[in-house]
Structures are given as structure tokens and as C-alpha cells.
């Protein structure tokens, strides 16, 4: 059980770190959203799974509560993260920010 928790935490930490690197490396707002929110989501999913496994290993009323709350946090993360990313990107495009080095921009043609 402990090994599983460490593996999940490790994957979470690596992907959160990559998200931070992506934020610095990528050239414009859209690609940065790809890097940041997505690596962060995957990192957070595994961090939360680590909490759930810890709760399951602990057992009893507290442990079960921990598992349920962790899974609920996961559900809300999966609902709110894409909504927020989408809102940011759409607002950026409406404000006239051109995607960097884009090979095609159908949304601009559409307007």
C-alpha cells in the first residue's frame, strides 16, 4: 500500500513539475493553457488518488470518509478544470490574441 501511495505521489509531483516547466517554455497563452492546466490536472488526479489509497489503507469511519471526500474532490476537479480552461482560452481569443505560429485558425476565419 505504501509503495502505491509513493508511486501516485511521485507521478503527481512529476506532472505538476512539468506543468510549471510548460508555463515557462511555451510561447503563447493557448499552449501555456495546454501545459499548465493539463499537467496540473493529471498531477492532481494522482495526488488525490494517493489520498484515497491512504484513506482506504487506514480503514474505519475516518478512512472511508477520506476516500469519499477525495473522490468527490476529483469529480469537482474534472468538472471545473476544463470549464475554467475553456473560459480563459475563449476570452483570450475574443480579446484578439492570435495563436502563436498557428498553421490554421478556423475560428478567426469564421468571424
Amino acid at each position: 500500500m505504501n509503495v502505491l501511495i509513493y508511486v501516485f505521489l511521485g507521478i503527481g509531483a512529476i506532472f505538476n513539475g512539468l506543468g510549471a516547466v510548460a508555463l515557462l517554455r511555451f510561447p503563447d497563452v493557448y499552449t501555456r493553457i495546454h501545459g499548465a492546466t493539463k499537467c496540473t490536472t493529471f498531477g492532481s488526479i494522482f495526488s488525490i488518488l494517493a489520498v484515497a489509497v491512504y484513506g482506504a489503507a487506514r480503514g474505519g469511519g475516518d478512512g472511508v470518509g477520506m476516500v469519499i471526500r477525495a473522490l468527490l474532490a476529483l469529480v469537482f476537479l474534472l468538472l471545473t478544470n476544463p470549464t475554467g480552461s475553456h473560459a480563459l482560452a475563449r476570452a483570450a481569443h475574443r480579446a484578439g490574441i492570435k495563436p502563436f505560429r498557428a498553421v490554421v485558425d478556423r475560428l478567426e476565419e469564421h468571424r
Binding site: 468527490l72 476544463p82 505560429r101
Partner: protein
Amino acid sequence: MRRVAEIAATFALAFLVYLLLTLPSGTFGLWSAEELLAGAVIALLAALASHRLLWEQGGWRLLNPWRWVVFLVYLVGPFFLAMAKANLDVAYRVITGRINPGIVRFNPGLKTDAGRTLLANSITLTPGTLTLEVDEETGDFYVHWINVRNVDPAPEEVCGPFPRWAKVVAE
């Protein structure tokens, strides 16, 4: 009558979530009396505020338990697999800086708000693709793609099996 049913259903869902969040809190059954009271008040406020939005355009369909089963299968199966693959792909692009971005358009042929929302959120959660806009009349999706392989892609090229699953789960 319809409105009362809408409020009641929203209240039940919100109250259920609150109960799950506060699960082992006390002596009154599994919950303490304070939590039950606070949960009921908060769930009622949430229901009054949001019931109009939730059940518009046939939201009742989503209460069908079979759809929930299919949704869970989708979540842990094809969706998680696609997300893991895409995460590794974007991790590679973060390290090497090899990107070929663009905004592409495709039409997955989804009719309902629920189906479009599910597909748009799935696309955005998958690294490398990001839904920018959905045309409400035609159902066209505008997606920012970090590695454009085809300027006029079919839905399957951008998001794999997601449209088919969205249709089964939500339409």
C-alpha cells in the same frame, strides 16, 4: 408542478453531495443534526438558484442510472487511457519544444447541450487539445490543437472515440 419537480430533484442532488462530503460527522445516524440542517438549507438555496439551468433541454435524461454506468465505464476506460497517452505526448513536447499549433474545426454531430458539454470538457481535459468555441446552431467545434496533423480533420483524428461515447452517455 413541473417547476416543483425540478426544484425537488435539484435539492435532492445537492443534498446528496452535501451528505457525502460530511459523511462520518456525528451521532444522529451517520451525520450530526447540525450538518443535516445546514445541508438542507444550503441545498434548498442551491436548488432555488440553479433549477432552471439544470433541467433545460431534457436534462431529465441524465438521471437514468444506465447512463451513469456507461459514463463511469467511459471515465476509467477510454477516457483515462486517452488522457494518459496525451499527457505523455505533451510532456514530450514540453521538454523538446516541438509544437505545431493551430485552431481546427470539426463537427461531431452532437445535438444536445449535455452531449456537447461532455465532449468539450473531455477534449479540454485531454492534453494537446483545447475547446475554444462551440457553435450552438451548427454544432461545430473549434479546437486549439497543439500538434496539427491535418488542417481539416475528422472528429476521430482530434479526439478519438470521445464523440461516440458522448452520444451514448448524454444523447
